[in-house]
């Protein structure tokens, strides 16, 4: 009845060999197909659930009439050489009022195996997952059914254990408690699968060994961080080398991203700024200013013409009034004075109140000039973009592809650098890793160690790369475009921040990716390496 196959596709229930034992014997046949098969006459029970996703699992229903006791004994059919073996444990007593069995899942079960599922429709069934070492056994498993709902225990009889050869073996150790009248069965299972390994020659189960071997679980993150940090410090030279590779690659990437962001910002501004509300406002301001200047200008011109004839020979000077040379002032303002300076000077000499008019006019003309410059800034920027060849033309698409290749290449070089450095680091530390494994380090701990080491380098390198790349890019833009580059910096700044985020992500991702294989190699290493004595 016991079969051994690569996987258990289905299990079968056979009526208990002896009902008096209070336990059903579940014999799982290992068959290749998906379809349940009847393994022989007298199989009253049947497979009720078969999980495709977990081909080793099956929920079985036991005929309550047949199995009228509460303990369950399973005959396990193991998948030969398979990682996991699932046991099916059922309650035996039938009752019209099935109680949901949810609490069972939450119970901390004293198991060697792990409870993996409680079937919602058949709440009395539960799937157990045994540790891998159970793989060697295709025979009986000792299942002690100990608990019960509300603390009651449903075990009226000693649990029956059936050896592989059918020999029976009593387990008197199970405590008898108050029988449970509720139809809830097993609360916890103790599957002492180590007993299986101690089977002696005659098929009987030897008593469980005095010590159960727990599983190592400790993965001290703090310690890993500490060791990784110290290792970086110890190998600072190489760390710097690796980090500088990352810095260079990411500085390149960052400068390109930042460049693109600022250029996009500038192009956008040059194209769309003249249509914006701010520019409408500037235009209104300009018109108001011009309106204000016009009467003053007319008044000055008139007075100048009148005074001009009488005072032409006196050749008075405007310089004291304006504080600078009139010719220079005209140049600075970009527009001529309302009248020739000598005439204006004569008019002011004739009528002192005109001095205020002239001063006011000069101030307004200065404002006007500033406004005009601001209004023409987009056009000037557009022209600059044209001269620098950064205008958005068809040819820039080709250049972008080229840049992309260059970036990819730089990143690849950095990646290979990291990979190489980490591989070296692993080979150098073979004995150290072996020693740690001898001291109880888990594979995951070793992996964590190397990934962390790489991560630190990645974070530092990427951060420096971003800062350097950004600084270089901004400097270059500043040199080419001056302050015009940052007319519309809000949106550009956001783009640059996004670029920096991308760079950090790429840098960290790259270093982790580069460390994955070396870390895996280190974790795979056998602790025996620690013993090796090199010449």
């Amino acid at each position: 009845m016991i079969g051994i196959a690569a996987r258990v596709e289905s299990c079968y229930v056979e009526p208990a060999l002896g009902k008096k034992f209070g336990g059903g014997e579940i014999v799982g046949s290992c068959l290749g197909g998906n379809r349940p098969q009847v393994a022989g006459p007298g199989l009253a029970d049947h497979l009720i659930h078969h999980r495709r996703s977990q081909p080793l699992a099956a929920v079985l229903e036991v005929d309550p009439e047949v199995h009228n006791a509460n303990g369950a004994v399973l005959r396990l059919v193991a998948g030969h050489q398979h990682r996991h073996v699932y046991l099916v444990v059922l309650r035996q007593k039938s009752h019209p009022f099935f109680r949901p069995f949810d609490h069972l899942v939450e119970q901390e079960l004293r198991l060697v195996g792990r409870l993996i599922a409680v079937h919602p429709f058949f709440p009395q069934g539960a799937l157990l997952q045994l540790p891998r070492r159970a793989k060697f056994i295709a025979g009986a498993v000792d299942v002690q059914v100990e608990g019960g709902f509300d603390g009651a225990v449903n075990v009226d009889q000693p649990v029956q254990v059936t050896g592989a050869d059918g020999a029976d073996f009593h387990h008197p150790s199970i405590p008898r408690r108050r029988p449970c009248h509720m139809p809830i069965a097993v609360q916890s299972f103790i599957v002492s699968s180590t007993a299986l390994t101690n089977r002696n020659g005659n098929g009987m189960l030897a008593p469980a060994p005095p010590h159960e071997v727990p599983r190592q679980v400790s993965l001290p993150l703090g310690k890993a961080v500490e060791i990784a940090y110290k290792n970086i410090r110890l190998r600072l030279g190489r760390s710097l080398l690796v980090t500088s590779g990352i810095v260079l690659a990411l500085a390149f990437l960052m400068s390109i991203l930042a460049n693109r962001a600022t250029l996009d910002g500038m192009r956008h501004w040059a194209r769309w700024a003249p249509a914006s509300a701010r520019f409408d406002r500037l235009r209104d301001q300009r018109a108001a200013l011009e309106d204000r200047m016009r009467p003053r200008e007319a008044r000055l011109r008139l007075a100048a013409r009148r005074a001009g004839e009488s005072a032409r020979n006196q050749s008075p000077d405007l310089r004291p009034l304006l504080g600078q040379d009139p010719a220079e002032l005209q140049k600075e303002l970009g527009i001529p004075l309302p009248a020739p300076p000598s005439d204006l000077a004569a008019a002011v000499a004739h009528n002192v109140s005109l001095a205020d008019d002239l001063r006011q006019w000069v101030a307004d003309a200065r404002d006007l000039k500033r406004l005009r410059e601001e209004l023409t800034a987009p056009e000037r920027l557009g022209a600059l973009l044209q001269t620098h060849g950064d205008a958005d033309t068809g040819q820039s698409a080709a250049r972008r592809t080229q840049t992309r290749w260059l970036v990819a290449l730089a990143l690849l070089v950095a990646f290979v650098g990291i990979l190489n450095a980490m591989l070296m680091s692993v080979t150098e530390r073979f004995r150290e890793i072996g020693t740690m494994k001898c001291l109880g380090a888990l594979d995951e701990f070793i992996i964590k160690l190397f990934l962390l080491e790489s991560l630190f380098q990645g974070i530092v390198g990427a951060a420096f790369g971003v800062v350097i790349g950004l600084a270089l890019s901004l400097l270059a833009t500043l040199l080419s475009y001056g302050t015009l580059a940052f007319q519309d910096f809000g949106a550009t700044g956001l783009d640059i921040l996004g670029g920096a985020g991308i760079c950090l992500g790429v840098g960290i991702g790259l270093t982790i990716a580069g460390a994955l294989y070396p870390a895996w190699q280190a974790a795979r290493m056998q602790p025996i390496e620690a013993m090796r004595v090199e010449a």
Partner: protein, 266 residues
């Protein structure tokens, strides 16, 4: 084969009733390495039992399978055939997590090359297995300092391995091996890289700890000084147990071993 069956062992008569007496049992252990197309039989069927608290030396020429057996006993390698029980647990049945637990709590390793973690101080080196065992940092610190004091390194807690002499490093390694109160100490040529005088100190220290804590010490060695403190000496030759000597038998032959017999120990 016949030889293996007459292996002496105090508890052999009632082996079935007192399984726990043995800390290590090897039953017909064979180990085959595959090198290319060739099969190398490193162990050809070794059966032996080691009692709790014993001080055992495994001796044999290089290539005799001594290291293979040693690794097997230490749970570092699995036999091709046969069974190795450490504290009555068949190590072949353990998964990697359980093995890690065993290495962490049950077995302490001492290496010929000391194998301290270079970036850590003596104290941190001793703390490491405790941290792996889940002990809190401050508790681990206290315990590690205590053990280091026991090996007379109380004044060098904060020194890195590179700042210590070989003998001091090995003493840190011993302290580290004892960190989690293991049942077995496996020492692989613990005096191999040390000078005569320092080696003697290390052996005395191990012997003292063996008596004090009742821990089983199993050491692979070439060092004759080791023999005089061993309870039993297991001689391996050509992948089999050649002979097992008790100390009492050895005492008589000690002169020979120290003197003219020295050559064939190499």
């Amino acid at each position: 084969m016949t030889r293996q069956q007459e292996i002496p062992g105090p508890a052999q008569a009632d082996a079935n009733s007192e399984l726990a007496e043995y800390i290590v049992r090897a039953i017909d252990v064979k180990r085959v390495y595959r090198m290319g197309d060739e099969e190398v039989h490193a162990l050809k069927g070794v059966t032996l039992s080691i009692n709790r608290g014993e001080y055992i030396s495994i001796m044999g020429p290089s290539g005799s399978g001594k290291s293979t057996l040693f690794n097997m006993i230490g749970g570092l390698d699995k036999p091709t055939e046969g069974k190795v029980y450490i504290d009555e647990v068949d190590i072949a049945q353990l998964d990697s997590y359980e093995l890690a637990w065993m290495r962490c709590r049950k077995i302490g390793y001492i290496f010929q090359t000391f194998n301290l973690i270079p970036v850590m101080t003596a104290l941190e080196n001793v703390m490491l297995p405790m941290i792996f065992a889940g002990l809190g940092t401050s508790d681990a610190q206290d315990r590690a300092a205590e053990i280091l004091k026991r090996v007379e390194l109380g004044h060098r807690l904060m020194n890195k391995p590179s700042e210590m002499s070989g003998g001091q490093q090995q003493r840190v390694a011993i302290a580290r091996a004892f960190a989690n109160d293991p049942a077995i100490i496996l020492a692989d040529e613990p005096t191999g890289n040390l000078d005569l005088q320092t080696g003697k100190l290390i052996i005395d220290l191990l012997h003292g700890l063996n008596r004090e804590k009742g821990v089983t010490i199993i050491s692979a060695t070439h060092d004759h000084k080791m023999l005089s403190v061993s309870d039993r000496i297991i001689w391996i030759r050509d992948g089999r147990v050649d002979k097992i000597q008790k100390r009492a038998e050895l005492k008589i032959a000690e002169g020979t071993i120290e003197g003219e017999g020295g050559e064939d120990l190499r």
